[in-house]
Amino acid sequence: MKNKKISGAEAVIHCLLNEGVDLVWGYPGGAIMPVYDEFYKFQDKLKHVLARHEQGAIHAAQGYARSSGRVGVAIATSGPGATNLVTGIADAQIDSTPVVCITGQVPSHLLGSDAFQETDIIGISMPVTKWNYQITRASEIPEIFAKAFYIAKSGRPGPVLIDITKDAQFELCKYAYKKCDGIRSYFPYPVINNDSIDSAVALINKAKKPFIVWGQGVILGKAEEEFKDFVEKSGIPAAWTILGLSALPTSHELNVGMVGMHGNYGPNILTNKCDLLIAIGMRFDDRVTGDPSTYASQAKIIHLEIDPAEVDKNIKVDVPVIGNCKESLKMITDKIDKRSHKKWISKFDDLMKIEFDKVIKSDLSPNKKGLTMGESIIAINDYTKGDAIIVTDVGQHQMVACRYANFIRSKSNITSGGLGTMGFALPAAMGAKMGAMDREVVAVIGDGGYQMTIQELGTIFQLQIPVKIVILNNDFLGMVRQWQQLFFDKRYASTEMINPDFVAIAKGYYIDSDRVEKRKDLKSAVKKMINSKKPYVLEICVEKEDNVFPMIPSGASVSDIRLN
């Protein structure tokens, strides 16, 4: 192929194949048609899935990346095709998801002329991409694609966008691909400072009430084993952020639950009682810290983090350990003493008992008439044996699912954490399934978010992607309603929804579907869904005005967490 000239569009396909891509998500249109023509020719080697909206395509690529650990690829045309990707790009940026987006662009001689479907997607996407680039000559394609994939997946991963003018897709070029293994201005893997390791070890060895909070960095760094070794040797209780969930099995004896706004009682209260906080691959999001001025202010803080920009960004730390936690965790584990902290851990147990009595009991074994979100999640646990990939949307159901879903394996909790993108779950679930065909994938979605990307039922039907979709329907935008109840004197402004017949809609897409309204039917309905080999939509009608507790009111201290 060395001397033969090929079109830019064909070069795009070869680049994807050279990067080991076998699946892309997208939506065609005028400015990207030459590439689509090549998808047609290469359909044996490279599968293209037609989403029903570009937002669906990128969320699917995100779900694919999160379940498989590979780079997700989304492709769209210029103008509205490109702008429809933006929400997903922003979501991938804030949740560090490796995604490569390819957009078509008007021919280079028309750039800036307000041509049909022209939009400055480079300018628009710049603040929400890790890197982006506009290709105007076919000869640039191999090098730019190699760079794009390298940047998307290395260091702290993130989204990258390549915009290709239509003339560059038609233009002929010589093709030679060389994978990128370094860029001189880019330092994705900072060298770990040995002194920082020693300082961390000293603090850990002398701590009396140490506490670990881990985030997605453990998963992105493929450091689950190293993390588990560290937790077990140090004997330190460990809590997760929403994106760190599933890196350590739910049942692990040192897993003490979730931190943050709707996290568990103990981990939040004891954040402000510990003498050492070890933050691993997390970024002190405001939903985790509450009021930063009071957050763990009594404790020394160690921060294991690959992105130097996250150190001291929200919370000042005492010992930053900058680098890949897969390495730094091992270095620390080798040097620390083996310890256990029984008395300290019993404090977590005591607070868990309080949370159980005041919150969990009524969530899971309710005496009220209507079904709860909590018991729905438990039913899913029962029939998936806690080994499903749970994909959640945003809102009450998301918090409840993360609180109650069981996990055995890593990369099993997929949700829109940082951006809080309603509409994420349905397309992300179909992507997650395609990224892990051997796993059971259950999407748990509220009635609000479901209707934001409901069109992807079309994609799921066409490809027969066997995802299980659970709608927890309370006929409300539940989380906003909860805030209205608590902070706006129950003025339910535009949060009540008169919903359509979700079962009929699923059936309109020829997808099996069922509805549960009564407690006695819940388990059998969930069982039937899990046993199905096909896509399935289960609508569970839950209490309309249930609230999610515990809760740290926005801006309050983590120790001011409320149980009701």
């Binding site: 480079i122 603040p127 920009a309 960004k313």
Partner: protein
Amino acid sequence: MEKRKNFTVSVYTENNVGLLHRISAIFLKRHINIESFTTSESEIKNVYRFIIVVKMTKSGIERVIKQIEKQVEVIKAFYHRDDETIFQESALYKMKSSSLFEERHIQNIIKDSNARIVTVNPEFFVIEKTGFRDDTEKLYKDLAPFGLLQFTRSGRIAVSKEKMGISEILNTFKNQN
């Protein structure tokens, strides 16, 4: 509350379309007004240097520098207080040529301020002055009463007293690959 101070930010980058937008967006996202912004090729071929002046808190500028350095095509970013750099800016003053002859005082002002006449033609003449903000500002105030046709001031250019070591960073990369 932490006090805001003048900081000179120096950013060494690759030569890339759109990088200016990427860097300025970091300030925009934080609602920070940029006082001045200049860019040119640096002492190293194909490596560009941005000089940005902002008024910020020290903790704010520390965070922003890290966000700038995080950009893929940024080689290194620095921030300095005024006393840690040597800095200058230039100003151009365009006036009616007739005033040069009618108002003899103008010639004294030019001489006293160490400014320079760049060009003179029958309609107008142009004065150039390089120095600190106070110097160009004083000359502006002195000349304004005689009628300025146009006035423009450049962004700050600055070199640091400390070593920046960009070549070393680039050489390390070269040796690793």
